[in-house]
Subunit: 118 residues, 10 copies
């Protein structure tokens, strides 16, 4: 898989000593099925508690758009987004939910969390 | 009952050390009543936490289609799907719900779980 | 009260070592009021965790139809169905809910459970 | 078919010179399928504009209960009720709708009208 | 039937040359069934276009309460209210709808209109 | 207050050794305001776990109708019904909710429970 | 009734040659019942097509607040508002709906229109 | 602030030894903003468990109407009502919720409780 | 009022001989009240049938943002947008709806249409 | 960032010894994106338990309007409002939720709390 992670930009969290939660919903995610070559559509929901950095939303939009022509399983979408955001943000806690539209009458939703080591 | 299990294909879980949950909903399930020979219709909902493997969705669709002309009780549908998916995936945890349309004015829903031995 | 219990047929639970739950909803129940002789209408909801046997749905339908011309109080409907199903199935756990249509502007719902002795 | 019509009682319309509409909904209708012997369940809706007589509701209830153990097709239910009510009431206009619960996944509704000759 | 009409009070329509519509909904109507002696409950909806008089609401409430212990058929409730209001108000147009709670599983709604002669 | 309690009839609970719950909803309750003499309207909801007796529904309907012309505060309605039903049924547990229609723009709901001494 | 009309301010319609519709909803209307002295509450809905003037909203708010301590029948509320707005605006078309909260279990809604003479 | 408390009337709780809950909803509350002089509108919800006294509803209505022309902050409305009702009723427990309509696009809700000292 | 119209850009309608309808909803409109200087918020809905030109959406966004610090009545907002779009697009038909958030408890919606001369 | 905090006015909490909760919802918040210069729209929800001071609502409205032309990230909006309100009110507890409209198809919500040191 190509390097999408470098598209993510951050800005400094001005309130690093305070625990607060950020929820981001991106209902326009699209990628390609690695088996059939057909496009898939889904909603990516990101929740996190930042440490020293926050993700900049326009760069996140461009990052998510990188998957547009990428052949990738649903399970890997959720995990790859988690890996990339954790690498760039090092948050205290993060949860990714990826819910995909029906294909052949079947719907799938993948949920994964990261908790920082103390 | 014929061997449906061999239709299930898997792919390697790229994130085996991480706990995450996958939910799959298949609202177009149909089988045949073993008593009356009449078709039954229902929705199969699968939830699981993978270990080293994930089920490939197209093969799951073909697997579920195998029941189309099979005479089988509702209770056995849910348990057979659980058995087949557990055998092929060896998940940490899995839950199957099978909810069927009314027959003779009566509706049935079957729920069954698997928890891996530690 | 005549013997309705013998109408209930069972089939062997192929998965006796596994705990799973079966929910059955029968919205077309009708019996007769023992005070007025007028027909009553209601919905019977059955939930159970089987041991070695499951109830066969067509026989359950015929069993429930037996009450069609029977004079019986709502409270006894719920308890009699529980007694008959427990006697025939010996489940680990069972719950019966019987919700009746209004009579004289008054609606009644009866709920009763059985838990198997250990 | 036995004579159910004689169960219908009427009372004099005190306002015979005025056109007004009466709507009666009876959601607890049940009869028996003449093919399978199984009970059917449905809702009967009656609309009419009376001439000199109105139907008394308690007698209508007993009349509709007469079908409880009668083997009769859905189409005949609607038409028989129309025939009996027209014979007894001689209304200016009457419409019967009979909507039945699903059987084998199929639902049926029958509608029939009577308009008095001028 | 006793004289309830005299309980209705009116006040002069200050805008007699203008056509406007008044809708009154009274969901707490109760009377007594002349067959069984049991109380009936319903909602009375009145719509009218006044001529020189409007009905005063508190007197209308007391008028409708007069039916509380009166044995009367549903059809006569709607027509009697129309007759009384037309006699007292002489409106250009009036419509009465009387919708009653189910009795023995059966619901009835009566609708009647008055149009003033030109 | 007159003796309404004697209107309540009971029948023997055939299943006295089993805990089960009965819910009764009576949406056509009406009484009279002791301050204004105006009728009040409300819904009475009864939940109980019987000991040796159950309340017969037709007698309960007649009992609740006794309040029709009785001047009584909302709070006393709920408590009086509880007292009468506890005296007659001696249940293990009972809860009464009385929810009244708005008067002067204000709505009131009263909730009261009884738990049998061990 | 005191002069409320003078509270209404207008501004010039900059688009007098064009037909367009303005809808104003005021759900916080309150006045006083002329019979009982008790406050009434309602929602006033105004629709109009302006000619040379539009009503200024803050002055309309103050105008509607003038009724706060005024004893007035519901029917007169709707007609008085229509009269005042028509006098001040001379619209092509205007419709007033006044819907009031229940009093003694009874709800009233008054609707009145004005169409300019050609 | 003038003395509104004296408008509150009580009646003896006939069931003082029993814990029961009374919920009162008054959606027609109106007062005046002490900053702008403009009317405010809100819903007052009262929940309490009485000791020896209950509040009489008509007097409560008149008490709440006292605020109609009173300039008072939202926070003080909720606390003043609590103080007055606690002083008059000495309840075991009481909770007041005051939810106000938007002003300048901003909505406020105030919640306050009283628990009697043991 | 400054010139906002020049911000609107268009592109050629490739299908000028065909009647088709375009609906645009802009829920983030904000302007300033010319009376109080306070910000107003609303939703602008545009429907039109193009002739030779369509409006470019990004320029429309910037055009609508021009009103952000402009003091203007609701009625003029709707008409000004219509005038500007009609001048730039010369559509066959266009309708503007401007629905504003409540101010002082009052909500306003303005609707205006343009039909091209034949 | 300019000093907005000085716009916040307070009034003395008349009930400082009592714990009560105030919820304020402001759905008309708008600021400017510091990256693109485009306006952002959102809803600010404030919950707090006061100590000796409450925030005056009109000043809060003007305070929130200060952000109208300010370039600021969503995360900083929520934290800055918390900082300013905590500095001015010194509440026992406060929670701010800032939920923003979609940009580039992506929605964000930020939640942050303050608990006073004991």
């Amino acid at each position: 898989m190509p390097d999408f992670r470098s598209k993510l930009e951050t800005f400094d969290n001005r309130y690093p000593g305070r625990d607060y939660k950020i929820e981001i919903v991106a209902p326009e995610f699209t990628s390609v099925c690695p088996k059939t070559g057909q496009p898939d559509f889904g909603t990516i929901t990101i929740n996190y508690v930042p440490r020293s950095k926050c993700v900049e939303l326009k760069s996140l939009k461009l990052y998510l758009q990188s998957y547009r022509n990428e052949g990738i399983f649903y399970e890997n979408v959720a995990n790859a987004i988690l890996d990339d955001l954790v690498a760039v943000l090092d948050p205290q806690w993060m949860k990714i939910e990826a819910a995909f539209s029906p294909r052949g009458g079947i719907t799938e939703k993948v949920s994964v969390q990261h908790v920082a080591a103390v």
